[in-house]
Amino acid sequence: MGSKEALEIVVNGESRELAVDPGRTLLDLLRDDLGLTGTKRGCDDASCGACTVLVDGRPHLACIALALCHDGSRVLTIEGASPPEGVHAIQTALVDGGGLQCGYCTPGIVLAARALLDRIPNPTPGDVREGISNNLCRCTGYERIIGAVLSALPHLTPLPAGRETPGESRS
């Protein structure tokens, strides 16, 4: 156990200055230090994707990410993924289309899907399949998740040209 080091990180748009143990994972930081328990722990070894968060707009597995390695990063968790006035179209589509049952994998899937849509605004079913293939779901058989993501597309606001914070710009 080393002494704590300073970490500056933006979480869901809010700047944080924290003293962090060098061995602390981003997952523990989010869940235990910041109380953001929407990010789930399913495996601790980067095999399930339940802890997926967006770091500078790209999906990262928080369970194997050391918090200190993300000094200066912008992190988006499920708590920041919904616009304040409601929920993201992907979330609504997952619920309405049966793309979730127990819901434990869902926060990770929502963020993986957002990252995918930021990268490929009009994905094919194959793109979605690949985009969520790091996220395990034991309940659904995946087809409804893929269908839900695709059905959310018409309800997403197009990304304005030139925006540089893709993970947080669409709603």
Partner: protein
């Protein structure tokens, strides 16, 4: 019967609100936004953390445990060992062979030996390293065969030759059945141990409330079984134990009993005065297991030339791991549910559940039926092949009829299996495809079924298996108190739909409080696919009773007899006079003003005639009803590499009546998917020393989205005469069929029978090679005979 179409416009459907309408799960948005609290998300003031020290040996005497150095580790608050957990518990009354921490000996690698509570998990883990345990190794029994051959050093002294349970059943006259048969087929089958791998690892937070009272937040499907197990393990009365299941992140059977972390956290909370959290790592969840046992089956099937089954005989050996758990039920289901899907007059079953030095097995989706169904449906196809009859036709010739009592005393009240078959045969293009696809491509069919709620309770005694309360109050709220646990299967939503329909309200007008043993009446919980049928019937009774009470108050106000009134569209209205009505809330308020909050109770008790026969082991197998599934699988088999690719699955499920078609479809798709994963990939493997080799989700090969084949689901509604609105279960009956449908399709594609799971390329290649050798030998023999 009709097949509710899936609405294409999901936004319009999202309002749902009536039985039979596509209804999103009522807590879906809470789950999708990360707001729903699972056990691991709880943060109680003063909460501390605990970790287990686990056995490195599969079988050993524990000679001594020295925890003195560990107690000095900063942050450590308490350490307990087997001396602190002497009381035995177990989910079945015939089991009761577990203690939370090993007492005197360890029985598998990973068994809990000591538990440390500390200010942090890290501190607890540092302390674990300081605990010194002295073991004296015993011979380890790591296979069913070696365990049954053991002459001494049995895993439990009372279980000679490590035989946990054995059952020998014979119904009708199997000898005569086989004597009459025109064709007899038989084979041996192997199914490895597989596990649930629910996405949420198990966890517990226990808080000692003083005296003999505790509150436990734990990830469980069966809060009442945990309450009872904790009470047994602590030697206190059940009434002092309150179990709250929180949100459960998937169960599949793996969260259906009391676990060591529940007991240890409770004891540590008492010793420290703090709430104690224990959360398992993924590796520990694999070690906890309670999933399917390894099955060794030998089965024989006799058939007349016209395809009629004359007899079936099955020997099953299950390698059940170190404790009894649900094992008696697992082995009995394997035998009993040979019946109740086809008409079979003669049946023999010999079942052995064997103890081994591995993590204990238990119930997993399709409990006990998966391996036996694979064997049976494979032999059906094999007999069909020998007779030159279409596999679908062979199944048609052995159908049951609703209103049947099977030879082993199972009662079939509704039977949508024939329609399930016809649906998938038609949709898949069976007639055009079977036997007509090019080499390497094939199509196969199989059926399966499952109890829609076990008729006999684990708890002995004649009492309702479900009791619910409905409370309607002045603010217009209607709250349903149900002990069934919402584990993502959608039971809160289904129960709300049943109540809402009866009261003429939209589903979201019903608030559901579920699972908490401190505030809900007795319900046996979310296992054996019982909730829709049993708790649903209790809700139906309670909501009818509440509705009658409200109408009586409305009747006084409206001046019409209660019989002329009904609850519809949020009003109490006259059936005879369209202009006479009053809002529901006003009728409710009249009632509350007269007598306070309106409270209605509903119960469900399985009828005596559904409880099965009178022979040892007759208690397992009887269901209050049965669901049915027929599935067609189309595959491609690469004849060079042995690789199998599932092109499509057509699955029809008879759920009686779809209370919520969206949830039914989700359950059936999930079942098919889980069955396919078992068929193609999954297996818990052990080192020669009894350690799990693949205790991780990647290593275990839980399939990903990249592996998902299209699954087309058909809902068949046979309207069970006793189910609520005709409903039966949807979550388990479709797991089994997909496995034999797949292997039967492989036969159609490549001419080989796969009898061992998982269906790896190596197994397919070996079968192809064996077939080639057999054919060459036959050719040589023909040449030799001719010369």
């Amino acid at each position: 019967m009709k097949n509710p179409a899936e609405p294409s416009d999901r936004s319009a459907a999202s309002t749902g609100g009536r039985s039979g309408a596509h209804t999103p799960l009522m807590d879906g948005l809470e789950r999708a936004t990360g707001r729903k609290l699972y056990v691991e998300d709880l943060r109680l003031p003063g909460m501390i953390h605990a970790r287990f020290l686990r056995s490195p040996h599969p079988h050993a005497q524990v000679l001594s445990i020295d925890a003195s150095a560990a107690l000095d580790v900063p942050g450590v608050r308490a350490i307990i060992t087997g001396k602190d957990t002497p009381r035995r518990y177990g989910v079945l009354p015939v089991g009761m062979d577990e203690t939370a921490l090993a007492v005197d000996k360890v029985r598998y690698v990973g068994q809990e030996v000591a538990a440390v509570a500390a200010s942090s998990e890290e501190a607890a883990e540092r302390a674990l390293e300081m605990i010194r345990v002295e073991y004296s190794l015993l011979p380890a029994w790591l296979s069913a065969a070696s365990a049954m051959g053991a002459r001494s050093d049995w895993i439990h002294e009372s279980k000679a030759r490590n035989l946990d349970r054995e059952y020998h059943h014979s119904f009708g006259d199997p000898g005569r059945g086989f004597a009459e048969a025109d064709v007899i087929v038989e084979d041996s089958f192997f199914h490895p141990r597989v596990t649930h791998a629910a996405m949420e690892p198990h966890g517990t937070v226990a808080r000692h409330e003083g005296g003999d009272r505790w509150t436990l937040w734990t990830s469980t499907q069966t809060p009442r079984h945990v309450q009872r197990g904790i009470a047994q393990a602590l030697g206190v009365s059940e009434a002092g134990i309150r179990v709250i299941p929180c949100a459960v992140g998937g169960g599949f059977g793996g969260k259906s009993e009391t676990f060591p972390q529940d007991v240890a956290a409770a004891i540590l909370s008492r010793s420290t005065g703090c709430p104690v959290r224990m959360r398992l790592t993924r590796e520990e969840v694999f070690g906890l297991h309670r999933g399917r046992p390894e099955n060794h089956i030998h089965m024989r099937l006799g058939m007349l030339a016209d395809g009629k089954i004359t007899a079936v005989e099955c020997e099953t050996i299950q390698d059940g791991g170190a404790f009894s758990g649900y094992g008696a039920a697992t082995i009995l289901y394997s035998g009993a549910l040979l019946a109740a899907i086809y008409d079979i007059s003669n049946m023999k079953f010999d079942g052995y559940r064997v103890l081994t030095n591995k993590p204990a097995c238990g119930p997993m989706r399709g409990h006990g039926t998966i391996a036996a169904r694979h064997a049976f449906e494979s032999l059906l196809d094999r007999a069909a092949a020998e007779l030159g009859v279409d596999p679908a036709e062979v199944r048609r010739r052995n159908l049951l009829r609703p209103g049947t009592r099977t030879v082993n005393d199972l009662r079939v009240t509704s039977y949508g299996f024939p329609e399930c078959m016809e649906r998938v045969l038609e949709a898949s293009g069976w007639r055009e495809k079977r036997g007509r696809l090019p080499p390497g491509r094939g199509i196969g069919i199989a059926g399966s079924h499952y109890v829609s709620g076990a008729s006999n309770s684990i708890l002995r005694g004649d009492f309702p298996h479900s009791t619910v309360l409905l409370v309607a109050d002045r603010d217009g709220s209607v709250t349903l108190f149900s002990g069934a646990a919402e584990i993502g299967q959608g039971c809160d939503t289904a129960l709300a739909l049943i109540a809402a329909d009866t009261l003429g309200l939209p589903a979201d007008a019903i608030r559901v409080v579920s699972g908490d043993t401190g505030v809900t009446p007795l319900d046996l919980g979310s296992y054996s696919s019982r909730v829709t049928f049993m708790t649903g019937n209790a809700v139906l009774e309670a909501s009818r009773s509440l509705g009658r009470a409200i109408l009586e108050h409305a009747s006084r106000h409206l001046g019409l007899p209660p019989d002329d009134l009904e609850l519809r569209d949020g009003t109490a209205r006259s059936k005879s006079r369209a202009d006479v009505s009053m809002p529901f809330i006003e009728a409710l308020r009249l009632g509350v003003e007269a007598e306070g909050a309106l409270v209605a109770k509903g119960t469900y008790r399985p009828p005596p005639e559904a409880r099965g026969g009178n022979f040892p082991g007759a208690g397992v197998g009887p269901g209050v009803s049965y669901s049915y599934s027929a599935q067609v699988v189309e595959v491609s088999v690469d004849l060079e590499t042995g690789e199998v690719r599932v092109e499509k699955v057509w699955a029809a499920h008879d759920c009686g009546k779809a209370i919520n078609p969206l949830a039914v479809r989700g359950q059936v798709e999930g079942s098919v998917w889980m069955g396919l994963a078992q068929a193609l990939a999954e297996e818990v493997r052990f080192s020669p020393g009894g350690q799990i080799l693949n205790a991780g989700l990647l290593e275990y090969r839980v399939p990903t989205a990249a592996d998902a084949p299209p699954i087309e689901v058909f809902i068949v509604e046979s309207l069970d005469p006793e189910g609520p609105r005709g409903a039966k279960e949807a979550g388990e009956g479709s797991v089994a069929a997909v496995i034999p449908a797949l292997t039967n399709a492989i036969y159609d594609a490549a001419g080989v029978w796969i009898t061992e799971l998982p269906v790896t390329p190596a197994r397919v290649l070996a079968a192809l090679e064996e077939k080639a050798i057999r054919e060459q030998r036959a050719a040589l023999e023909r040449v030799a005979a001719a010369t």
